[in-house]
Subunit: 196 residues, 2 copies
């Protein structure tokens, strides 16, 4: 809605949840590789920056602009949430100088399923949260949703870890990618980065 | 993402899910009343039109522009979905000349709860789907999500029914508004309309 009296109060909280990942020639993160895991890759870029807003168009130096928003939990239960909170660490730890950005798009078949069927595949069959829990606190993460934003990917997940933990991160990805849930992944790109 | 080769293919499906409700002086629906049920109301307008896109700014005649997107089911189970599909009718029935648009915002406390807790309140305590089922097929509806769009409301629900069913629609609202789930509603506006 756009009426002058509403813009400020209504958009503050959602603006704080907005993040954009800009692949170009500037930013604190150096891109070491971009790998297409499923579907089309992304254009080459040497640096990445993350901004807490959603620009309408990419900056002139940018090869790509990916927008996402942090949101409410979609599958996580109270019990799982408590386990995650007890073990997880936040982003920005000084020793966590490696990162990964995994943009991922799921199929129309995934989105057409009712909530209980998706939850069943997500956890009972694929153990998505259980697998993630094993790698805490070494791997810190933040999930950004994009399915409802008109973006080419449905999810953008940002991970940070120490260089010594990159092999464990690769194990985590291998476990998830071999799960039933990944049968519904249409497009996935794996971007690795170093903080400089 | 904005690279020329991706814009067309990536945005088609989400564009079809985008709807905007424009309150102003034109459109096929005449607004009969706008009532603030909780929180601030909306500005006065005489007519409403619905467009299948998300304009960045409201048209010059508009008093307000509300944007939402149809999306995946968030609480509905397979069993509930089958019952709904068996009973519900689509929008646009010739005799359904009355309508209601209910923009609604839930509290931060609602969104902070994990999935199972919200589902528990939504159905086990509040019987949201069960109540809705009782009024099918007389009341047709389409739910639009807006929580992740930076909009002032989290949901925009559009209802269509025959004039003789408006008392039943009021009963439906009364049942829902007396439920535990509605303790988490911070703002709600009730807009009634006639098709001309």
């Amino acid at each position: 809605m756009h009426t002058p009296q509403n813009i400020t109060s209504s958009t503050t909280s959602s603006n704080l949840r907005q993040f954009s990942f800009i692949g170009g020639s500037t930013g604190p993160w150096r891109i070491s590789r971009i790998t297409a895991v499923a579907g089309e890759s992304l254009g080459m870029a040497t640096r990445l920056r993350i901004v807490n807003e959603h620009p309408e168009t990419p900056p002139t130096d940018a090869s790509w602009l990916l927008r996402g928003i942090t949101s409410n939990l979609r599958y996580t239960t109270q019990s799982e949430s408590e386990q995650l909170i007890a073990k997880q660490k936040g982003l920005g730890r000084p020793h966590a100088t490696r990162a990964a950005l995994i943009p991922l798009k799921k199929s129309a078949a995934w989105w057409a399923m009712p909530q209980d069927t998706r939850r069943q595949i997500f956890e009972a069959q694929s153990r998505h949260t259980s697998i993630g829990l094993k790698y805490l606190p070494a791997i810190a993460r933040r999930l950004h949703h994009a399915y409802d934003l008109g973006e080419p990917f449905d999810f953008l997940t940002w991970f940070e870890f120490a260089p010594k933990d990159e092999p464990h991160f690769d194990e985590l990805l291998a476990e998830l990618r071999s799960s039933q849930e990944w049968a519904y992944v249409d497009r996935e790109v794996d971007i690795r980065l170093n903080r400089e």
